[in-house]
Subunit: 132 residues, 4 copies
Amino acid sequence: MNEFRLDLTVRDYECDLQGIVNNATYLNYLEHTRHEFLKSLGIDFAGMHQQGIDLVVVRSEVDYKYSLTSGDSFYVTLKMALEGRIRIVFYQDIFRLPDNKPIIKGKITGTALSSQGRPFLPDEIKEILLKI
Amino acid sequence: MNEFRLDLTVRDYECDLQGIVNNATYLNYLEHTRHEFLKSLGIDFAGMHQQGIDLVVVRSEVDYKYSLTSGDSFYVTLKMALEGRIRIVFYQDIFRLPDNKPIIKGKITGTALSSQGRPFLPDEIKEILLKI
Amino acid sequence: MNEFRLDLTVRDYECDLQGIVNNATYLNYLEHTRHEFLKSLGIDFAGMHQQGIDLVVVRSEVDYKYSLTSGDSFYVTLKMALEGRIRIVFYQDIFRLPDNKPIIKGKITGTALSSQGRPFLPDEIKEILLKI
Amino acid sequence: MNEFRLDLTVRDYECDLQGIVNNATYLNYLEHTRHEFLKSLGIDFAGMHQQGIDLVVVRSEVDYKYSLTSGDSFYVTLKMALEGRIRIVFYQDIFRLPDNKPIIKGKITGTALSSQGRPFLPDEIKEILLKI
């Protein structure tokens, strides 16, 4: 697959008292990028929830290499792979602009839960994996 | 009615790069206090949503008098009054502990929306107002 | 002055359990727009903090007219006026795209605090007000 | 060392449109617990920042086992260990109350940065590790 990329800018309220983006906020950036990626493929996170299918994170791993701060622009990359039969892994890194300095290296593993709470891989996601 | 009161502590991630609690975060504190107040009366915000009734804010007014910062403890007060036939006003102030320094003075106006999006006053809320 | 405008998109994590953007999050949108406006005029919020000058909110008033939800795009407008000798008022509204539906109508009053905590109007801000 | 424990309650604004606590919010819970733990030992996160020492996260790993939702109470546990010469590992798990259901299992690695941005282990932290 081609790597998906989303360009964003630090918002001042995302910085904490150290003057740098708070460690939890990077998880927000990664989630927003995943949802924009899925939307670009016609998959609507909120719409799936309304159908009773919840895409959920089962594991997150983030290496924090350097901090983003007020005024920084950056981009988030995303590559997706199947892990086992019902887990999807999103490799997601963040780089500062314009110098491409590595900021974080992330690996987010997700699955879908049926309305009965059973993990499964929805057909919409399977089709994406076949295409890429 | 007796004034409702909730005691809380500043969490460091709630402070922004100025080292003080961000202006938006006080709205979180006020919302959490309203929901705890409603819960103390047997009204469950999330449960109402599942029944198709959404309690929503229609106006917020906040005077910021002094800033909370890392390490501060504080309490949020709440008094409730009917405004017109379908609006509820929550008077909510925040005071720092232990010196009772006034931090913010807030007035939050809310109503309920039916599943058709029509504003109304649910019977559960009416009953509270009759009791107090 | 010409009205400043910032275009944004709802991020799913900004929606709460009602499936709509949480009332506090609009304050984040308004703050981010003010800071981008100031930056467009050469004023850096974080930089001023490092010089010992803190731009702070002293009052916020928001009328919530309609809710933003997952997938919505919107824009925030900003007009600025002097109130008395040391207060600045930002009139900031949010409209949904592409139908321009009014979402919120906000009035945010701010001032600057010197390193001694005294409210004042920094020269950089005065110059902006003279130009517009 | 004895395990540190902090009891908390889900706040409704921490839940996202799926009606469950958002994945990034658990990082907030873990950070707040670390800071309360450090405070219990006389170490002030904000105070260290003012001295030019920044405690930062260099890696986070979280396994999400079950979701917290509106109304849930829970507790966060913390154990701390030295990793190499300048890294501290915090083992932090979350359990729901009153049934002790495991919610997340986390491992957060941190270090301190000097004002020159060099990683090191402050003496205050070393002393804690010797005592426990």
